[in-house]
Amino acid sequence: MTTDRKRFTGGQRLLHWAMAVCIIAMFFIGVGMVSTIMPTYVPLLATHKTLGVAIFVLALVRLAVRARSGTPPLPADLPAPMRLAAHLSHYGLYGLMFAMPLLGWAMLSAGAYPVVLYGDIRLPAILPQNAALHTLLWNAHSYLAFAFFALVLTHVAAALFHALVRRDGVFEAMAPVGSRSGTPSR
């Protein structure tokens, strides 16, 4: 659903940027924690799990808000391949926002690990212990994490391309503060 608004609502922008911070933090926490034996390993792991669940919940909220508020239309003159790339990459981003926390949770369940978040919040196992499933889910969580990082990087590059090169209002639609559309060209 699209709206005739040029920008996402304040709530949508808040969700977008809050989740952007969380998700980017997750990439660094994830690769950092699996490559260290330092004492930070323990809080990093707890943060990774807690933030993962938070992202899953925020993604649910975000999808509901999107269904209600819609999205501003892409510029009419956006070439078809870019339009397609924009749509596909957003399916990918949403898919991974939901898939990564679920894969992580399922992976820990298949490894018979208790899933304990900050605040001693304990999540139930969503799978029975199983070595083959643990490996499959571990690989999926790991490979998709790199794919997710690449996709976010592409998303950032595309956003900057809209902001700096095309200057077509797409970036401004999600810009965190103010609206720069209408300010004079450099």
């Binding site: 990439f27 660094f28 690769v31 950092g32 924690m33 699996v34 490559s35 260290t36 034996i37 330092m38 004492p39 930070t40 390993y41 323990v42 792991l45 510029p75 490894g111 018979a112 690990y113 208790p114 304990v116 001693d120 304990r122 212990q129 070595a131 083959a132 643990h134 490996t135 571990w138 990082f149 990087l153 950032v156 590059a157 900057l160 391309f161 700096l164 090169v165 095309r166 200057r167 077509d168 209002g169 401004e172 559309s181 209408g182 300010t183 060209s185 450099r186």
Partner: protein, 351 residues
């Protein structure tokens, strides 16, 4: 209104900015992942260093590879509740499962060749909390830091002629463990060993008071001292046969002793014992009721990660639990991926 499209020069500059952002982000990611820091001590390096010269045995734990499962109960007497609000210390019977093991990467190692014996333990409480621990019979840990432990693991592979002597000279903290390891009075049963947590953890009680604690499971069975030479005569997998028969005849018991640090005691260094006379609390009894071969047993697929702790216990400034957790996870990931290499049946000796 959208801005007009930018000119060619600023387009180039803009593309350069975009490229720089992407390269910068990728570089930061690579740095965080350790790809730019070959000297970083990673879980992979630590686990690889545990492997015997012939390489790791696929499908098995990368250390403490030889073991046998048990189930039983932890009978808490309530005394531990003064130190920790964890349900495991509330008076009652809490289900336990665990694993007796030998500190070797070789699941086929002969009993008499391995000085370090271990106990992996999980206590689950009806509030849903899980407490896991992995303990050994040594009274102290060999070294003070995970980095020193990595150095120690690399000694056998060293080309240097006096590598061990050099290591000991550089790590005087190794002496108490070294003396214990050389002492000839081994015991003849897993049931006769003490299992010491060695690492300090912070216990928080119901009123929020936090204290550093180390724990030990002390055997109630009388120790039968035996030399490794005599143990060797009883067979390569005597200990598993013995504990199976012993527990079939009667449950075996250990008392859980919690020892509280005084201010100034070395909580961050498990190679240093705390002075005698520290306050200690007997918190209950571990009762081992049933032995099962590892292959089909409930302990096989459990990672006895010492950072899996209930509310009321948390890691202290001791750097080892984190390092062990990271390494155990790596070992678990490897062996679960190699599950097809793990034999479906235990050796006859283990039955």
């Amino acid at each position: 209104m959208p801005l007009p499209p930018s000119g060619p020069r600023s387009t180039l500059a803009s593309l350069a900015i975009i490229g720089a952002v992407c390269i910068g982000a990728t570089g930061a990611f690579a740095y965080t992942a350790g790809w730019l820091s070959p000297d970083r001590l990673t879980p992979t390096k630590l686990v690889d260093a545990l492997a015997p010269p012939t390489g790791p045995v696929p499908g098995y734990r990368r250390n403490h590879a030889k073991g046998i499962c048990f189930t039983g109960v932890f009978e808490a007497n309530g005394n531990g509740a003064a130190l920790s609000r964890a349900k495991a210390f509330a008076t009652g019977r809490h289900p336990a499962l665990g694993r007796f093991n030998l500190g070797t990467p070789n699941p086929g190692a002969a009993d008499a060749t391995v000085r370090v014996r271990g106990l992996g333990l999980q206590i689950a409480t009806d509030d849903g909390a899980v407490w896991r621990a992995a303990m050994i019979n040594a009274p102290v840990f060999p070294v003070a830091t995970p980095a020193a432990f990595y150095e120690l693991l690399r000694v056998p592979a060293s080309k240097e002629p006096n590598a061990m002597a050099t290591f000991v000279a550089a790590h005087p903290e190794f002496a108490p463990f070294g003396a214990w390891a050389k002492s000839p009075d081994w015991t003849a049963s897993y049931a006769q060993e003490p299992y010491n947590g060695l690492n300090a953890f912070l216990f928080t009680n119901a009123s929020g008071t936090e204290q550093a604690v180390r724990w030990s499971f002390r055997p109630q069975a009388q120790a039968e001292r035996i030399t490794p030479e005599d143990l060797a005569k009883r067979g390569e997998a005597y200990l598993e046969r013995e504990i199976t028969e012993r527990v079939a005849a009667a449950p075996q018991r250990w008392s859980l002793i919690l020892t509280v640090a005084d201010p100034g005691d070395p909580t961050a260094d498990p190679s240093r014992a705390w002075p005698e006379g520290r306050r200690s609390v007997e918190a209950g009894t571990l009762v081992v009721e049933r032995i099962e071969p590892e292959a089909d047993g409930p302990c096989r697929d459990i990672n006895f990660d010492p950072t899996i702790l209930p509310d009321g216990i948390r890691v202290s400034d001791d750097p080892f639990p984190a390092a062990r957790s990271a390494a155990y996870a790596r070992s678990y990931d490897l062996r679960t991926a190699e599950a097809k290499d793990y034999p479906k049946r235990t050796s006859e000796a283990g039955r």
